[in-house]
């Protein structure tokens, strides 16, 4: 068991100007489950591969425990990795796949057998130990890859999108299995995913990366309730947060015909660089449907209603114009009562629940207040 520290770790791929990972500063506690999350190309896999030793570190350092491993070969780092496509050895049986690392380390045969069998029992693989990987299903292969990591009893587990090749149902199931297994074993784990749901459900803490730069680290709750900037606000949460940039007059933001009073701290935080504008975000569940003409309400034209049984979401556009959208879509999303659903083409009035507005600088995107 050990802590993991990225100390201004930087990776620049040969022939590129911009670093793939730019001065990453991150400390992971002993036994912690940390999820690196971000859109594709954000540097999360590169960070993991730097920790594994599969990628050179061009600046800064990486520590496992107190040991500087920046220039240490992967084989000497005492880590185990689960790859996205599992990377099982196709010509070896499941047992040999799982015991390969121990065999190299010179562990006695009886002990290898015993440890492999223990891991197989945990992962429900006992009856497949003599099979080759090609004779296994996707989920079973995934478990073999996990087994290969846990028989080693390493200091750190590294997982690079281990669930992305599974179907949706199996993914949800395996997600909880991995999380509970990690808690049981208590091994420090760094887990890479592009799926923010996976990140929120599995991690003790989440680190969001974008364009090689660490945006925010925190518990799932912190990330959701207090995103540090516009990127994190838009990335974490499903459906995504509604975000728009609005004019501010007399400390009030003009949102689709409604005036929304800004907090004192927010209003004071607006600088001349923002040009008298502020970026506001509010989650779909932070909106209440009200009767038209209510105080602070703005109107939304309904273009689509998505019913999920327990919830229903309205997708629409601001009636009085204005740039307000959730994620990559150009629509506003409102969570509504599934028993009282408007029709397509209707117009609904909504207000923002008190204290549930996130305000960001229009110029820098950083959180205000």
């Amino acid at each position: 068991m050990a802590t993991v520290t990225f100390d201004k770790a930087t990776r620049v791929y040969p022939g590129t100007e911009r670093p793939a990972v730019d001065q990453l500063d991150l400390h992971i506690e002993d036994g912690e489950f940390l999820v690196l999350v971000g859109p594709s190309g954000c540097g999360k896999s590169t960070s993991l591969r730097m920790l594994a030793g599969l990628e050179d570190v061009n600046g800064g350092a990486i520590l496992i425990g107190d040991r500087d491993v920046t220039d240490v070969q992967p084989k000497d780092r005492d880590i185990a990795m689960v790859f996205q496509n599992y990377a099982l050895y196709p010509h070896m049986s499941v047992a040999d796949n799982m015991g390969f690392a121990l065999k190299i380390a010179g562990t006695p045969k009886a002990e290898i057998r015993q440890r492999v069998e223990e891991a197989a029992k945990i992962l429900d693989l006992t009856e497949y130990l003599d099979r080759k990987p090609k004779a296994l299903s996707g989920g079973q292969r995934q478990r073999v890859a996990m087994g290969r990591a846990i028989v080693r009893q390493p200091q750190v587990f590294l997982m690079d999108e281990p669930l992305s090749n599974l179907d949706a149902k199996l993914r949800v199931q395996t997600r909880t299995q991995i999380a509970s297994l990690q808690r049981r074993l208590g091994v420090t784990t760094v887990y890479v995913t592009h799926d923010q749901t996976e990140a929120l459900t599995m991690g003790d803490r989440i680190a969001v990366l974008s364009a090689g730069v660490l945006q925010q680290v925190g518990t799932p709750r912190e990330m959701y309730d207090k995103p540090a900037n516009v990127f994190v606000a838009g990335f974490i949460g499903s459906p995504a947060m509604n975000i728009g940039t609005f004019d501010v007059t007399d400390g009030k933001a003009q949102v689709g015909g409604a005036s929304i009073t800004l907090d004192r701290a927010v209003a004071d935080g607006i600088t001349p660089a923002d040009g008298g504008r502020v970026t506001l975000g509010f989650r779909p569940e932070s909106l209440d449907v009200v009767s038209s003409g209510s105080e602070g309400a703005f109107e939304v034209d309904v273009t689509l209603v998505e019913e999920l049984g327990s919830d229903a979401f309205v997708y629409g556009t601001l009636k009085n114009g204005g740039d307000l959208h959730a994620g990559d879509s150009n629509q506003v999303i409102v969570r509504i009562d599934p028993r009282n659903v408007p029709d397509k083409g209707d117009t609904i009035s909504v207000t923002i629940k008190p204290e549930q507005t996130h305000a960001f600088s229009a110029a820098t995107g950083e959180r205000l207040g």
Binding site: A52, P74, K75, R141, N165
Partner: protein, 305 residues
Amino acid sequence: MTTPVERDQSTERPTVGAPFEAARRTPPAGPADRTAAATSHVLLTFGAVLVVVPFLWVFVSSFKTTKEILASPFSLPADPSLANYATAWTDAGIGRYFLNTIVVVGCALFFVMMLGALTAYVLARFRFPGNKVIYNLMLAGLTFPVFLAIVPLFFVLRNAGLLNTLPGLIVTYVAFAFPFTVFFLYSFFRGLPHEVAEAAQVDGAGEWRTFFQIMLPMARPGMASVAIFNFLGLWNQFLLPVALNTDTDNYVLTQGMAQFASQAGYAVDFGALYAGVVMTVLPVLVVYVFFQRRLQGSVAQGTFR
């Protein structure tokens, strides 16, 4: 958990019959499909006959005396005997040539596969200055006509004291099979998923172990096909031994057969000649049949989803 599944099967089996299943899976062949199938079968049969019949004729004739062959070429042997094989093996020296060929081709094959795999692996998987240059030199080697090299090779081998020796021939064979081997295995190693090599690294394997215990076994189908090509090419090699290996004791099979067929002028012992042909061709057939199984089935199935 298990009961509903069992019930499902028992209710399904009588109602959904096998013919119905089959009909649903393969749509009935249209007339165009049938014409195409018939045409290809006719052509393939013709091709097979063209190859198999002469060989069968040689095989049958190898059990007949020369007189019998000339008198009734298409009859079955009246008194089948292995006398021709004995004559060819001992009197015509096919036995000795056979052994020479096995030694030369076997050694050359071992070295060229070993060196070729190592070279291709390094060129395909490691970046270093000069990597491309070396690879392109290999490609250039592929286009180099053997005839141009014969005379220089003769002098090189003579100066090295390897002319007319089996090691000299082995070295030459290795050199000539090398570019093709590297060229073929290069693309093969490139195609192997590099995560597997990385997994081995993380598991604690060094470069050598990764190569011999992980990558080489994964490259087995590629190695097998290159080995077949090389075996066929080297086994049937004629020009190089004729030029560089003129000592009768060191003759390889092709030289031996050529000598056997030409030395007797019109008084050729056809029975023994055919026996020699059969003995020459048989190993090639055996190797091909043996390796063909290995060619089938793709690589790295376990690594993909």
